[in-house]
C-alpha cells in the first residue's frame, strides 16, 4: 500500500515507523524541515520530500498521484484540511485521514463532507487521550484498557498483587473461581519480559497481566488479580490545557474534580467553561498548594501539561505527598519506561494512543483494530470475518485449520453480543469479530490477506 504521511512530528514519525516496518507498505513522509527528514530517513526505509504539505506541487513530488492513503498530521489543522482537499480534488486519493485538534472544527456539522472538506477520518489526539484516561479512571487498578468489537469486549492490563484471589495459583484455577464468566489471560509480563501464558502458569505478585473479558465481567476479573479498589471519587488534574479541560468536563458530574492551572487568565476562561469542577490558580509542583488541597486524600492525580518533564516531577511529588494513584502525560517512550516501573503508576503516551487509532484506519480490508500492548512487545488485533466458506479463508473453518503466521494466536471471538473464548475446535462464522495476539508486527499483512474476502478463492 502506498501511504503518504504529512508532517514528521512525533505522531507522524511514529506512524512512519510502524507502517514502514510492514513489508507491504511504501511510505513517503513530507515535512518542511530537511534536517528532521534526513534523520528519519537514516532510521527508516522510507522516502522523504521537503516542502509545504498542502501545496499540490509538493504532493505531486511525493507521489500523491498513486497514493492509496494520505495521512495529514502537521501542526496546523488548516494545513491538514487543505492537504486533504488538494488530495481529493487534484489527485483523487481514496482515503484521507487528518488530525484535527480544534474542537470547534470537530463539532461543526456538515463540514467534513465530500463537497465541503473531504476528510474521511478525523483524529483528535486530545479526545483520544481524554477517553483513554476516562477508561483508566473507570477501572481503578487498570494500567491499560482497550476496546474491541465496539466496546463489547475489553482488553485490560493490571498489576497483580497478593490480595487478588488468583495470585499464587495456576491460571487453570480461574475456571473454578469464576465459573460463569468468559475471559482469558492473554499475556503476562514479569520483570519486564513477556511470558507465554498457559494453564499451568502461576501468577506472581507484581506481574503485569493482560486479560480479555466481556465488558460486564471486567471488574470480576480484576478482583482475581488484585484487591478491588473503590471507585474513584476525588480527582486532581494538573494543567488546564485542552486535554485537562476535556477530562474535567467528562468527570465533573460524578467526581470531585480540581484542576490546577498556572496562568490566571486561562484559569478564568476554563472556570467559565466548567460547571462543578474547581479551578485552582497555581503551580502543580507547589507542595504547599497540594497539601492545602488535601492531596493525601486524592484518588487520582493526573499531570496533563504540555511539558513532560514537569508532568513527571509534579506526579512524583503528588505521589510522595500521598496521592493514591498518579498518572502523567509522557511523550518519550524512554521516559515512560524509566518512571513506570517506580514512582509513577501510569504513563500515558498521547503518541501511542493516537497511533493505535490512526493505524486502525490505515488497515486494509477487514482488520479493524491494531493496538500495541504496553511496552510494545505484542499487538492485539481485531479482524472481522466476512463472506462464506467459498470466498473467505477463515469462515467455516476451525481455528486449528487456519494458516496463521508464527507467533500469532486467536484469543476470542465476538458473535453478535456473545463473547466466545477460542479453542482449537471453535469454528469461525461470518461476521465474527476475531481478536488475535501477535508478537511480530511485520507479519500483519498476512493477517490482512487471510481475512480478505476473495471471490476467486477456492
Amino acid at each position: 500500500m502506498k501511504i503518504l504521511i504529512l508532517g514528521a512530528g512525533q505522531v507522524g514519525s511514529s506512524a512512519a515507523y510502524h507502517l514502514s516496518r510492514e513489508e507491504a507498505n511504501e511510505v513517503t513522509v513530507v515535512d518542511k524541515r530537511p534536517e528532521v527528514l534526513r534523520e528519519l530517513q537514516d532510521r527508516l526505509d522510507i522516502r522523504t520530500v521537503v516542502g509545504h504539505a498542502a501545496y499540490p506541487e509538493v504532493l505531486e513530488r511525493a507521489g500523491a498521484d498513486d497514493a492509496d492513503i494520505i495521512v495529514a498530521l502537521t501542526d496546523g489543522d488548516e494545513t491538514n484540511m487543505v492537504a486533504c482537499q488538494v488530495a481529493y480534488t487534484v489527485f483523487h486519493t481514496p482515503t484521507k485521514i487528518a488530525r484535527i485538534r480544534a474542537a470547534e472544527y470537530m463539532n461543526a456539522r456538515k463540514l467534513f463532507t465530500q463537497d465541503a472538506i473531504p476528510v474521511d477520518v478525523r483524529i483528535s489526539p486530545e479526545q483520544l487521550v481524554c477517553e483513554y484516561i476516562e477508561q483508566l479512571i473507570l477501572y481503578p487498578g487498570a494500567l491499560q484498557v482497550l476496546d474491541f468489537a465496539e466496546g463489547r469486549v475489553r482488553l485490560v492490563g493490571a498489576r497483580a498483587d497478593n490480595r487478588g484471589s488468583l495470585v499464587g495459583q495456576k491460571i487453570r484455577a480461574l475456571k473454578e473461581h469464576i465459573p460463569n464468566t468468559e475471559g482469558r489471560i492473554a499475556a503476562i509480563y514479569r520483570d519486564g519480559k513477556s511470558l507465554q501464558p498457559d494453564g499451568d502458569t502461576i501468577i506472581n505478585d507484581g506481574d503485569e497481566v493482560f486479560f480479555i473479558a466481556a465488558r460486564q465481567d471486567v471488574r470480576v476479573f480484576m478482583s482475581e488479580m488484585r484487591k478491588l479498589e473503590d471507585p474513584v471519587r476525588r480527582v486532581v488534574i494538573a494543567g488546564g490545557g485542552n486535554i485537562g479541560v476535556r477530562l474535567a468536563l467528562a468527570l465533573e458530574q460524578n467526581n470531585q474534580v480540581k484542576i490546577i492551572e498556572r496562568n490566571p487568565e486561562r484559569a478564568r476562561i476554563i472556570s467559565e467553561q466548567l460547571n462543578k469542577a474547581i479551578v485552582l490558580v497555581g503551580d502543580a509542583a507547589d507542595e504547599e498548594l497540594l497539601l492545602e488541597e488535601n492531596i493525601d486524600n486524592v484518588d487520582v492525580f493526573c499531570a496533563l501539561t504540555n511539558a513532560e518533564e514537569a508532568n513527571i516531577l509534579s506526579a512524583m511529588l503528588a505521589k510522595r505527598l500521598g496521592a493514591h494513584k498518579v498518572m502523567a502525560l509522557i511523550n518519550r517512550p524512554s521516559y515512560a519506561e524509566l518512571v513506570e516501573s517506580g514512582s509513577i503508576d501510569i504513563a500515558i503516551s498521547p503518541q501511542q494512543v493516537t497511533i493505535g487509532s490512526l493505524l486502525a484506519h490505515v488497515r486494509r480490508g477487514d482488520v479493524s483494530k491494531v493496538h500495541s500492548l504496553r511496552r510494545g512487545a505484542a499487538e492485539a488485533i481485531e479482524a472481522v470475518a466476512h463472506g462464506d466458506n467459498k470466498e473467505s479463508a477463515v469462515v467455516g473453518r476451525r481455528i486449528d485449520e487456519l494458516k496463521l503466521p508464527k507467533g500469532t494466536s486467536i484469543v476470542t471471538l465476538v458473535r453478535g453480543d456473545e463473547v466466545i473464548m477460542a479453542h482449537h475446535d471453535t469454528v469461525i462464522e461470518t461476521d465474527d469479530h476475531v481478536i488475535l495476539f501477535m508478537t511480530d508486527r511485520r507479519k500483519i499483512d498476512k493477517i490482512e490477506n487471510l481475512f480478505q474476502v476473495d471471490v476467486s478463492f477456492v
Binding site: K2, S20, E23, E26, V27, T28, P34, R38, Q41, D42, R43, L44, D45, I46, R47, T48, G63
Partner: protein, 483 residues
C-alpha cells in the same frame, strides 16, 4: 562497531558473489575451451569463505548503522577484488601471478579497464567473458544488486548504497523502498545492456563479442576481447553504437528511470548536470576534431571525425575503449584527454572521475566570487536549476576535491618512486583513480611492464576511485573507530 552484523552481511554477499562463477562455466562448456575448472574451484572456495563468515553469526539481526555500512562496503570491495582474482590466478591460460590476477580483477570490478594481459585474442572464451562480467557487476555496483535481491537488508540497504553510490548527494530515493529503488536501477541497467547487445550484434559483431562489449560499454569499463579494443572491428557502425551507449551510461541513472517511467525525455533537458555533461563532451570533441584536422593526422575527414569523437567520448566518460593510439596524437591532445577524464560522467552513473556535478558546483562558486567582487553586499546562492544547493553539499564538494588532489599527489609521487617517468606516472594515476584504463607513455597499451609495487599502487587507486575515496578513507581515521 557492530562486527557481527557486518560479518553476517559480508558472508551473505560473498555467497551471492560465488554464484557469478556459473555463467563463465556455461560459456566454457559452450565453446569447449577446457577452462571451466578454475571457475568451479573458485565457486566452491568463495562459497565456503562466505559460509565461514556467515555461519557463526547467522542469527544476529541488528539493524546496520551508518558506520557499519562503510565497513561492509569497503571490506566487501577489498575482499571481492581478491576473490574475483581467484579464477584468473588458478587458470592455466593465461598464467598470471597473484598480483596480476588481483590487478585484472580489481580493474574489472571498478570498471577501470586497465589490463596487464596481452594477446587477448588467443585467450579462452570463458576467461574473456569473465573479465567482461566483472565489469558489468561492478558498473551499477554489486552492493546495489545485493540490496535489490536481498530484501532482509532493510534500512541497512540504504547505508550500504550510500557508501557505494557515486556523487555528492546520496539521499535521493527513486521509490519509498530502498529495495525497489535498487531494483529499478538494475532494471534500467539491464535494459540498456540488452539494447546495447542487440545494437552491436546488428552492427556486425559476433554474438559473443556483442555480449562481452555490451557489458563493458554500459558499465563504462573498457575491457575488450581483443588487443586492439573496438579498433579491432574497424567498423564505423560499431564505433557509433559504442559512442551512443557510452554517453547514455555516463548519465545519472535516476534520469533514465524517470524518463522510462514517465515516457518522456523532458527530465533530461531540465537537468543542469546532464546539460553540462553534454556541453563538455561537445566542446571536447570539437577541440579534438579541430586539432586533428588542422595537423592532418588522418588524411580522411571521416576518419578524423569518427576517431576524434570516439576517443573524446571514451576518455571523457572514463570508459577507455580505443580505436586509435591517442597517446601518439599531436600537441596537447593526449594530456587534454587525460584531463577530461577528471570530469568523468554524471553522479549516479557508472562512470568514474570527479563527476560533472561537482565541477559544475565548483565552477558556479567561481562565478559567484566574480559577482561578489562587483557587488560586495549581494546575497548569491549557488543554484542548480531553480533550487539553491544546501551549504553542506557545497562544502562536501570542496572537501572531496581537495582530498582527491592530495591523494592524486601522493600516488603520483609513489608511482615515480617505483621508477616511472613523470608522464607515465601521471597518466597511470589518472587512469586508475578516474577508473579510466589506458594511460600515456609506458602504460598507453597496458600496465604489464610495471613493477609489482606500482601495480599495487594502481590497485589502491582503482578502489579509491570507485568508492570515491571517502568510503575507504573513513576507515583509516581514528574518529571512525572511536566509540
Amino acid at each position: 562497531m557492530n562486527w557481527t552484523v557486518a560479518l553476517r552481511i559480508l558472508g551473505l554477499l560473498l555467497m551471492m558473489f560465488s554464484l557469478t562463477m556459473a555463467p563463465p562455466v556455461v560459456v566454457s562448456l559452450w565453446f569447449d575451451d577446457q577452462s571451466w575448472l578454475p571457475f568451479v574451484e573458485s565457486f566452491v572456495f568463495i562459497l565456503l569463505a562466505g559460509t565461514l563468515f556467515w555461519f557463526p553469526v547467522r542469527h544476529k539481526r541488528k539493524d546496520l548503522r551508518l558506520r557499519d555500512g562503510f565497513l561492509v562496503v569497503a571490506s566487501f570491495w577489498t575482499v571481492l577484488g581478491t576473490a574475483g582474482a581467484l579464477p584468473l590466478w588458478l587458470a592455466d591460460v593465461p598464467s598470471m601471478t597473484f598480483t596480476d590476477a588481483v590487478f585484472e580483477s580489481m580493474s574489472g570490478l571498478t570498471t577501470t579497464g586497465a589490463t596487464v594481459l596481452i594477446g587477448l585474442d588467443a585467450l579462452p572464451e570463458s576467461i574473456l567473458f569473465y573479465r567482461q562480467q566483472l565489469q558489468w557487476f561492478g558498473g551499477m555496483g554489486i552492493i546495489v544488486l545485493a540490496v535489490a535481491v536481498l530484501p532482509m537488508l532493510g534500512v541497512g540497504g540504504m547505508q550500504l548504497m550510500r557508501a557505494e553510490t557515486p556523487g555528492p548527494v546520496k539521499d535521493t530515493k527513486l521509490t519509498p523502498r530502498i529495495t525497489e529503488t535498487a531494483k529499478a536501477l538494475w532494471y534500467v541497467y539491464l535494459a540498456f545492456t540488452v539494447f546495447c547487445l542487440l545494437c552491436y550484434w546488428a552492427a556486425g559483431m559476433t554474438f559473443f563479442d556483442a555480449l562481452c562489449h555490451s557489458f563493458s560499454t554500459v558499465a563504462i569499463g573498457g575491457f575488450s576481447t581483443h588487443d586492439l579494443s573496438i579498433g579491432y572491428f574497424g567498423s564505423t557502425a560499431i564505433d557509433l553504437v559504442a559512442i551512443v551507449f557510452m554517453i547514455l551510461a555516463g548519465v545519472n541513472f535516476s534520469l533514465h528511470f524517470f524518463a522510462w517511467r514517465n515516457v518522456s525525455i523532458g527530465h533530461y533537458r531540465q537537468d543542469p548536470e546532464f546539460r553540462a555533461y553534454i556541453f563538455v563532451l561537445l566542446i571536447l570533441s570539437a577541440i579534438v576534431i579541430g586539432s586533428l584536422s588542422l595537423v592532418g593526422t588522418y588524411s580522411d575527414w571521416d576518419d578524423t571525425v569518427i576517431n576524434g569523437l570516439f576517443q573524446s567520448v571514451s576518455i571523457a566518460t572514463t570508459t577507455g575503449f580505443t580505436t586509435a593510439n591517442y597517446a601518439a596524437w599531436p600537441g596537447a591532445l593526449p594530456v587534454l584527454l587525460i584531463f577530461a577524464s577528471f570530469v568523468g560522467g554524471c553522479a549516479g552513473s557508472t562512470a568514474g572521475g570527479i563527476k560533472v556535478i561537482r565541477w559544475l558546483l565548483i565552477a558556479k562558486q567561481g562565478a559567484r566570487e566574480i559577482v561578489r567582487l562587483v557587488h560586495p553586499s549581494a546575497e548569491i546562492p549557488v543554484k542548480l536549476g531553480s533550487s539553491a544547493v544546501p551549504f553542506r553539499v557545497v562544502d562536501a564538494v570542496w572537501g572531496f576535491f581537495s582530498v582527491y588532489i592530495v591523494v592524486f599527489g601522493i600516488m603520483l609521487l609513489a608511482m615515480m618512486t617505483t621508477g616511472l617517468d613523470q608522464v607515465t606516472a601521471f597518466s597511470a594515476v589518472a587512469a586508475t583513480l578516474n577508473n579510466l584504463g589506458p594511460g600515456l607513455g609506458e602504460v598507453a597499451a597496458g600496465f604489464m611492464t610495471l613493477t609489482d609495487t606500482a601495480k599495487w599502487i594502481a590497485i589502491t587507486g582503482m578502489l579509491l576511485g570507485r568508492l570515491e575515496i571517502f568510503t575507504l578513507l573513513v576507515l583509516i581515521t581514528p574518529t571512525f573507530w572511536r566509540h
